[in-house]
Symmetry: C2
Subunit: 351 residues, 2 copies
């Protein structure tokens, strides 16, 4: 097994005791860092940056050096999967992702391919390999993908939305189409995450960013079963010396109603957003490590406030089975010194 100088994240994920609570942040490789913005400008565009392995690796490692986090997360986007299936996206400044073509019929689904990670997503796998080499065992590397339902939202709606009513309309009006598309996304995602693990990812996280727009019934029909398939497929990957059992984290933002059910999945870690009460979540998910869940807006507060909120969070989670994180990606206008205060406070107060 690969020897890591800092394996706190993996040990906490697997439920083992750790000397202190590990900490990282969603979107830590991003606009909060001037050093990121410099590389982003050099690359020319977000997509150029994400598809150039050397640059993606560089920004992936920045927060390890600059912020002192206990894990790197590969710099990429959940929308590389639809692109690899044959549905390219564009990234517009301020407006976010746009899909010029969207998917609406069984024929549209038939025209998509199951992503072949080596052929279609080689640039991410290459970025993982470079990152692993350059990290040189300092901290673990996290891989990730979107949950099939969240990817489905973008492939049908074509852009971000408050309600994703086009996507949800498809679930009600054409469940056959919806399930076929979700299955194709799931098959692509399983292949992609397995390839990330083979390339060196030490843990993989599934982001169900739009879980919270579904009713519980729809969540259990259209989202959870596909996440379950992914968790089961990764758990079944035969462990070997080079690639031991890889922990999976499921983060379903807004799916407070499904916490108990998510806790039954074949995953090691469940992510919480900042709306979810910690004690209640522990009771609903007794057997998993929990990740989260500070409100990202706490980092707008004073150093004293940040420290107080971190202490409160650590006390609520307790010293075991917890990976400290925000309850959402860090907001781009956050002061990096406040971010460092958050990270340092977790390290100082969790011993």
């Amino acid at each position: 097994m690969e020897s890591l100088q800092n394996d706190l994240l993996l040990r906490a994920a697997l439920g083992q005791k750790t000397e202190r609570t590990p900490v990282w942040m969603m979107r830590q490789a991003g606009r909060i860092l001037a050093e990121y913005r410099a590389v982003r400008q050099k690359a020319g565009s977000f997509i150029q940056l994400a598809t150039t392995p050397e640059l993606a690796a560089e920004v992936t490692i920045q927060p390890v050096d600059l912020l002192g986090v206990d894990a790197a997360i590969i710099f990429s986007d959940i929308l590389v999967v639809p692109e690899a299936m044959g549905l390219p996206y564009e990234m517009e400044e301020k407006r976010g992702p746009i899909f010029p073509k969207t998917v609406h019929t069984l024929q549209d689904v038939a025209q998509l391919r199951v992503a072949d990670p080596e052929a279609d997503l080689g640039y991410v796998l290459e970025a993982i390999k470079i990152t692993k080499r350059e990290l040189n065992g300092r901290v673990p590397l996290i891989g990730f993908a979107g949950a099939p339902f969240t990817i489905f939202c973008y492939m049908t709606e074509g852009k971000g939305s408050k309600t994703f009513s086009v996507a949800k309309k498809a679930l009600y009006t054409d469940p056959e189409f919806s399930h076929q598309l979700l299955q194709k996304i799931t098959d692509s995602t399983i292949a992609y995450l397995k390839a990330q693990i083979a390339a060196g990812a030490n843990l993989v996280q599934i982001f169900d960013s739009w879980a919270g727009i579904l009713s519980p019934d729809q969540y259990y029909e259209f989202s959870l079963p596909y996440i379950r398939q992914i968790c089961d497929a990764i758990a079944q990957t035969p462990p070997n010396v080079a690639v031991p059992q890889t922990p999976v984290t499921v983060f379903a933002k807004g799916a407070f109603f499904a916490r108990h059910e998510i806790g039954q999945l074949n995953c090691a870690v469940v992510g919480l957003d900042w709306n979810m009460d910690i004690a209640e979540s522990r009771a609903l998910i007794p057997s998993k490590t929990l990740q989260g869940n500070l409100d990202p807006c706490v980092l707008y507060g004073s150093y004293k406030q940040i420290e107080a909120e971190v202490k409160k969070m650590l006390n609520a989670f307790g010293p075991e089975r917890h990976i400290a994180n925000l309850g959402h990606g860090v907001y781009p206008d956050t002061d990096p010194d406040k971010v460092r205060c958050f990270i340092d406070a977790v390290k100082a107060y969790s011993v």
Copy 2:
């Protein structure tokens, strides 16, 4: 006491037995109806329509005639309150509301006034009076206002947002400013809702549309106490023959974590969104009437699906202490025939 031909809504709100479950929809007076769009075009703009009492009354009554709902809700906008406090807004097609000026300092707060409903919001009160006259007792009329925190979001952020991080930043960095502004909004809202009741509103609803972006701690500090003030102030209004005790509905979208606490307020009805499990919500809020909570996207389904989902909802709520509604405003591209199917199904299956 005013005699109403159909008082199902009020009796259900007060926890009395009704022959069937009453039904209405948030945003029922709006873009789903061709008849609304015609009046809207005649008015020239959304704000012109909202500030012209005869036209506002006309579109308020349309869904009673055209859809058969058990209540009218006055056509207006929650943002008339900041405007009455001295902070005007504009409504941009597709982008939504924009405040050219926003509020950031104690001095900014000092420059705002507590709204004087007669002087500043007379057009809404006039629209209520015209509506009451034209309804002529057919169904009750619902008045409404935004919850102070939701109004605070717009006054500080200046526009809609997915995260309202400017608004939330103020809560963390300047609680004194935040509480002063929230109190001024609350005082304005109490005066406004009392004036709506005096003008003829039979029930008033408080919309906390952005409740779901707050952590539980912040919700209990910055939102719930101000809603409580409003509920208490309306409950303390001395009942008289002309104006009996007016039921209050609190709808805090996304505040699943606060259901028990909201259920302790001095209100008659608690609104649920479609993420909230009905049985769990009944257990958390045992002593109130509940309102909701069909996913608005169900109305994109077939007639058969809509009927099946309505039956499921009615069974889950049971025949008492329920006001049927969607879990959010009806989406503008919904087919009016599907809306009628929803309303007719509640009427048919709740007897």
